[in-house]
Each structure stands twice: as structure tokens, then as C-alpha cells.
């Protein structure tokens, strides 16, 4: 129900032209306003707080849709913030998630290459395990310098860091990784659909290139990775839960990130030169795939968390671990 409604807003408002405009410094206000006015930012807020009280399984297809549409505003993060804040009053505006920042020796807090760091009004951060809401107007912002990126590095001096709002700071990085996994799954769906269509349409040597066996086999392998990314991302979004578990999010982020180079490279290889042009839409998704692979830690980071946890148990097989710990 929510998914169809949000799909229709995205199809209408989150067009490739709108994405390009926002990436070039245009205002996101109209797109953001459409999402906010429809109440979608409150999907995970409790019903007492006027929200829809959705669980992870219910928001999963919505987060995937955000990726499929390359949504250039932090809607997933802002929705997730409601679940992380557990009823604490939330200010209006864009909230991003800073789950993997670090403290300097002086006590400043740095969130490097923060997703939507150039745009968000607030960052919900994990600072020493505490949940802290930071005002980005008080931060020193440095653009990442990556073409088209909406990320930035933000630094807050010790004096402007507010009081903790909860002791669940560790959940920020976990949820942020999970929503990036869902976004990767969505962008991969789009990339795969575009590549399949292109191979059916593009004629060389007198026939569509999709008729060539070498091209077919590349698309088959790409499909395998898109399927893996889809189920891996879904693992982190369990029914009945409001925040992903650490091991499920780790699996989701690791397995989706692992497929990013293969899926993006195949899409580009099969499109040829037009795929790397500004005017062709492929880059809107492939650039994001690479950015999201690195956001909140790439696959070695999360694999190590999974591996350390498994190895620290005195016994138990890998199958049992997958069934009982990852997919509890």
C-alpha cells in the first residue's frame, strides 16, 4: 500500500532531470516536500507519535525503491531516525545517519564522507556508543570533491556536541549499513533492467547484441549477483523488528557490496561508451553503487565482524551460525 503510493511520488518527482538538478546544487525542497507532506517520513514513528509504526519488513520495499530511483535526498535515513530515536521528539528536516564517525584527541567529532552530508540539516550520530543528534549548521563542512556526490565530511567541535538521547548509538551504523544495502539492491535492479533492455535493442552485426552468447552469459552472471543482493539486503529487514540486528545487517551490507563491482562493470561493459556519458542515465545508478559500497564500511569491514563473532564461539558449524545467529 505504502510502496505503491511512494512509487508514484518517486516516478513523478524523482526524475533523472530532478536528480541531475539536485546533484548540480539545485534545491531539493520540492522533492523533499512531496515526501514530507505525504507523511512518508513518519513510516517508522510509533502510532502514538502520529506515525505508521511500520516494522523493518514493511519498509524494506520502500528503501529498495529509493535505491531504484536514485533518490537524491536522505529519506531512508530520516525514516530510520524515527526508529532509532524511540519516541524522542524529532526536529523537522533532513536527518542523515553518522554511524561511523570518529573522535579526535581534542574531542571533536568527524564524520568523513557522510552520505548527504552536504544537504542534511541534522546528523544522528553514534558518539562513543551514545545516540546524539547533531546540527549540521554548527559543523565545519568539507565537500568530498567527488563529482555529483551529495556526501561531505563534517566536523563538529567538542563544544557544540549536545547531550546523548540514548545509549543505542551502536545501532546507527548498523541501520545505516542496512539501508545502504537496500539501496544497492534497488539500484542494481534498475541497472540490470536498463542493461537487459539495451542488449535487446542495440543492433550490431545485424542482430541485437543480446543474441550473442558471450553477452547472454554476462547478463546471466549479472542476474545471479542481482538476485544475491536482493535476498541479502532483505535479510536485514526482519518482520516485527524496528532496528536490524548487527549480524543480519553485516551480511546484507557485505554481500550487496561484494557484487557492486561485478554488476556495475558488466552494465558499463555491455553499454559501451554511451554508458559513461553524463547525458545517459546509467551513471546516475552506477556512481551511487560505488558510493554505497564504501558507505558505512565495505565488505571486508562487515565480514570481519561476522568472522570474529563466529570464531569467538567455542564450536558450531558455519551452517548453524548462518541459520541461528544471522537469521535469528
Amino acid at each position: 500500500m505504502f510502496t505503491e503510493a511512494i512509487e508514484s511520488i518517486l516516478a513523478d518527482q524523482c526524475t533523472p532531470a530532478a536528480i541531475r538538478q539536485i546533484e548540480n546544487g539545485g534545491s531539493p525542497a520540492s522533492l523533499w516536500g512531496a515526501l514530507a507532506e505525504s507523511g512518508f517520513l513518519e513510516l517508522m514513528a510509533s502510532e502514538e507519535a502520529g506515525g505508521a509504526g511500520l516494522d523493518l519488513a514493511a519498509v524494506f520495499p520502500i528503501f529498495v525503491a529509493f535505491g531504484r530511483h536514485a533518490l537524491p535526498v536522505p529519506a531512508a535515513q530520516t525514516i530510520a531516525a524515527r526508529a532509532l530515536l524511540r519516541g524522542v521528539a524529532v526536529p523537522e528536516g533532513m536527518i542523515t545517519l553518522a554511524g561511523h564517525g570518529r573522535r579526535t584527541p581534542d574531542g571533536d567529532f568527524i564524520a568523513a564522507n557522510l552520505a548527504f552530508g552536504g544537504m542534511a540539516e541534522f546528523a544522528l550520530a553514534d558518539i562513543d556508543g551514545h545516540l546524539v543528534l547533531l546540527d549540521t549548521r554548527l559543523a565545519e563542512r568539507t565537500a568530498s570533491g567527488v563529482h555529483g556526490s551529495l556526501g561531505a565530511t563534517l566536523r563538529w567541535s567538542r563544544e557544540v556536541i549536545g547531550q546523548p538521547l540514548g545509549d543505542n548509538g551502536a545501532e546507527v551504523g548498523v541501520f545505516s549499513a542496512a539501508l545502504h544495502a537496500a539501496a544497492i539492491a534497488g539500484a542494481m535492479e534498475r541497472l540490470f533492467g536498463m542493461t537487459l533492455s539495451y542488449c535487446n535493442d542495440r543492433v550490431q552485426f545485424g542482430k541485437p547484441i543480446g543474441k550473442f552468447q558471450s553477452v547472454q552469459h554476462q547478463l546471466s552472471v549479472m542476474a545471479e549477483h542481482v538476485a544475491c543482493a536482493g535476498v541479502a539486503a532483505e535479510l536485514a529487514f526482519a518482520a516485527g523488528a524496528r532496528v536490524p540486528t548487527r549480524l543480519a545487517a553485516a551480511t546484507a551490507k557485505s554481500r550487496t557490496s561484494m557484487s557492486v563491482p561485478i554488476v556495475a562493470a558488466t552494465a558499463h561493459a555491455l553499454h559501451g561508451a554511451i554508458g559513461v556519458t553524463e547525458e545517459f542515465d546509467l551513471q546516475l545508478y552506477s556512481r551511487r553503487l560505488h558510493e554505497w559500497r564504501m558507505a558505512d564500511g565495505s565488505e571486508p569491514y562487515w565480514n570481519r565482524i561476522v568472522g570474529e563473532t563466529l570464531l569467538s564461539q567455542p564450536n558450531g558449524t558455519v551452517l548453524r551460525f548462518a541459520m541461528e545467529e544471522i537469521q535469528a
Binding site: L196, T251, A322
Partner: protein
């Protein structure tokens, strides 16, 4: 997005199947023969008639067959659980495996009532082991070009020709062979039929072929004017191609294409637990674990389709292709990891296990259809062919 990919949504095993898992684990705990990891790593190729008969006595051979033949009639989810638990534990399943999963279901679907009455109870008791005569010296992936020929004669057929790479022919009682009954190899899929050949018949010679790991898991089988009685024809004359494809679909649709190297992985993990590990080794353990958790869910999604009565042939081909790649990656990566420091002592059994799997792992993406065949099937499923 393509319809094919929409099939892959997270699905849960029902409670009843998870409860069944406890029964399987209990059985394996008391019936799995004690064996070193390098032996357990042979699972599919581990031939142990005694284990197969004990499994049959427990009621778990002929798992898809109805109870009237002595089959277990397990639903798709319980089948998934049984197979997953056996393969992950490294149970020696080779003796009954083909009869259980391919020959039995084929006879149940296409066989005559006499054939069903004779073979199916024997399969379910673990007394009739089968092999599949498909490949020939000049018919591998191009299966339709088989030349072995059955010719009509008084009271039956006379069979001449040669089958090769036939898994366990030298230890099986029967072969279901795909042979030509009319036309020539140029007629391709037309004119092929399936027969059940008792491998003790005069004129049949079975020569085991030693593999690179020192085992003999497959054979060459020669038919020299072998008399086959009328009732050895399975299904209809000329319908062999259609029947073989149904048979391969039975084979390709299970979870068995993920677990061939899991015994090695668990053995390595046990070694790391006792010796300590580096961050890189922990990340590698995590990489295999997150991949396994993901692939397993692809396989459960296929099982859910089977449980709904669908025939997810292309979905199964997709899982098999990436699943066997995972099976092959484990020994490839662990050779590198285990010998990354040549001065560090390595448990000899771990060394034998990784060596065995590295040697034999090319077969993982050959048996039941090569990568190239599977990727062609996926491409067709995507509408490209």
C-alpha cells in the same frame, strides 16, 4: 525488472520443517560413520551402502516417492532440510543418491505399473542403486547427439554402444540409459528413448575410471549387443529427450549446489579456533559465511516455488551456477590462506581436505550441466534466446 529475479524474495522454512531438522540431526549423530574431514568432503562421491541402508530403514530414501512404494513422501521443505543437513555434515550419500533423486522420481512419473512395483520399493529399501547413462565419448554437453542404439528384436531390444563418465556405474545395480531408438544423431532430440538396464546382463562391461584424486567415482560402460526385455523401456518410445529434461530438473532444483566444500570450511574454522586467527582470516571466514547465508536463502526461495507446485527450472539453474562457484571458491581461497605462511604448521588432515577439494572441485560445475549450459538456460529465462 525481469520476472526471473522477482522469484528471489526471502522465504522462511515452515516450523514443521525446522522441527524435522531436529530428527535429522539426531539420526546423523548416531548413524554417521566416523570419518576424517578429507573423507567427509567426498559427500556426493562417498559411497557407503551400509549408511544408505540405515537411512532407508529410517524411511529417508525415496524421499519424494509416495508411501505406497515405501517412500517418505516428504514435502519440498523437509527435503531441503534433509539434504542440507546431510551434505553439510559430509554424509556419504552417493550409493542411494541418484536413485533417490532422479531415477526413482523418473520411474514414478513415466514408468509402467510393473516397473513401479518392482523398482520403487527396492529403491526405498536402499537395495537398488542406480546410475544414469547420459554422456558418451562424443556426446557431453551436446547430449542430443548420443549414438548408443537400441534396435527392436523378438521380445525386446538389442542395445549396443558406449556410455562414459557415468557416476558409480561400477557400484550400481541398474542404469537408466538415454539411447537412440530411431533415426540418426542428426535427428537430434527426436528418436531417443530411455531404458533400465540391469548391469549384470551379459554383454555389459563396466570399467571404472580412476580420477585425479585417486578415487574411481565414474565409469565407462560398454554395451555389446545386450538383450533388453520389452518391459525395460521407460515411458514412451521416442520420448527420451522430454523425460531426461524432467529428470534433470529433479536434479537441479535442490540445495545441494552450495555445500560441497562446507566440510573444509568447518575444518578450517576449527583449526583457527584452536590456533588463533588474523584479521584477514576472520574477514575471509565472514565472507564465506555471509555468502553461504545468502545463497542458502536463494535456495529456500526455489524450494518455496517447488512447494507451491511450480517448476522453477531456470531459478534452480541460476542458484546452481552461482552456488557451484561458491563451492569452488572455498578451496581456491583456502589454498592461498592456509599456505600464506609456509613456516606455520598445518594440520595434515586440513591439508588433505583442501588438496582433495582443490583437485576435485572442477567437477562441481560439470555434473548435472556445465556453466555454459546453465547460463544459456538463464539467458533463455531472461528472454534473450
Amino acid at each position: 525488472m525481469s520476472q526471473l529475479l522477482e522469484a528471489f524474495r526471502l522465504a522462511q522454512l515452515p516450523q514443521a520443517a525446522e522441527a524435522f531438522r531436529a530428527e535429522v540431526r539426531e539420526f546423523l549423530a548416531s548413524n554417521l560413520p566416523a570419518a576424517a574431514p578429507s573423507q567427509r568432503a567426498r559427500t556426493w562421491m562417498g559411497f557407503d551402502a551400509d549408511f544408505s541402508r540405515r537411512l532407508a530403514a529410517r524411511g529417508w530414501v525415496g524421499i519424494t516417492l509416495p508411501a505406497q512404494w515405501g517412500g517418505a513422501g516428504l514435502d519440498a521443505y523437509r527435503r531441503f532440510v534433509l539434504v542440507e543437513e546431510m551434505l553439510a555434515a559430509g554424509a556419504p550419500v552417493a550409493a542411494h543418491w541418484i536413485a533417490d533423486r532422479q531415477s526413482g522420481p523418473l520411474i514414478a512419473k513415466f514408468g509402467s505399473s510393473t516397473q513401479k512395483d518392482f523398482y520403487l520399493p527396492r529403491i526405498c529399501r536402499g537395495e537398488a542403486f542406480f546410475c544414469i547413462g547420459m554422456s558418451e565419448p562424443n556426446a557431453g554437453s551436446d547430449l542430443a547427439s548420443v549414438r548408443t542404439r537400441a534396435t527392436r528384436c523378438e521380445g525386446g531390444w538389442r542395445l549396443s554402444g558406449r556410455k562414459i563418465w557415468t557416476t558409480n556405474a561400477h557400484r550400481s545395480h541398474y542404469m537408466i540409459a538415454l539411447v537412440r531408438t530411431s533415426g540418426t544423431p542428426e535427428d537430434r532430440q527426436n528418436g531417443l528413448s530411455q531404458f533400465i538396464a540391469d548391469l549384470k546382463l551379459p554383454g555389459i562391461e563396466v570399467r571404472p575410471i580412476v580420477d585425479l584424486a585417486g578415487d574411481a567415482h565414474f565409469s565407462e560402460v560398454t554395451f555389446d549387443d545386450v538383450f533388453l526385455a520389452e518391459d525395460t523401456l521407460v515411458g514412451e518410445e521416442g520420448s527420451g529427450w522430454k523425460q531426461v529434461n524432467a529428470e534433470l530438473a529433479f536434479e537441479r532444483s535442490g540445495p545441494e549446489r552450495l555445500y560441497s566444500s562446507v566440510v573444509l570450511l568447518d575444518t578450517w574454522i576449527a583449526a583457527l579456533r584452536s590456533s588463533g586467527w588474523s584479521p584477514g582470516e576472520a574477514a575471509l571466514v565472514g565472507s564465506f559465511t555471509t555468502q553461504l547465508a545468502t545463497l542458502r536463502n536463494l535456495s529456500v526461495a526455489v524450494t518455496a516455488k517447488l512447494a507451491r507446485g511450480e517448476s522453477p527450472v531456470v531459478e534452480a539453474a541460476l542458484v546452481k551456477d552461482i552456488g557451484t562457484e561458491f563451492e569452488q571458491t572455498i578451496p581456491a581461497m583456502l589454498e592461498a590462506a592456509i599456505a600464506a605462511d609456509p613456516t606455520r604448521p598445518v594440520d595434515p588432515e586440513l591439508h588433505r581436505t583442501v588438496a582433495y577439494l582443490s583437485q576435485i572441485s572442477p567437477t562441481f560445475s560439470l555434473r548435472g550441466g556445465t556453466r555454459e549450459i546453465l547460463r544459456g538456460m538463464i539467458a533463455r529465462g531472461l528472454g534473450l534466446r
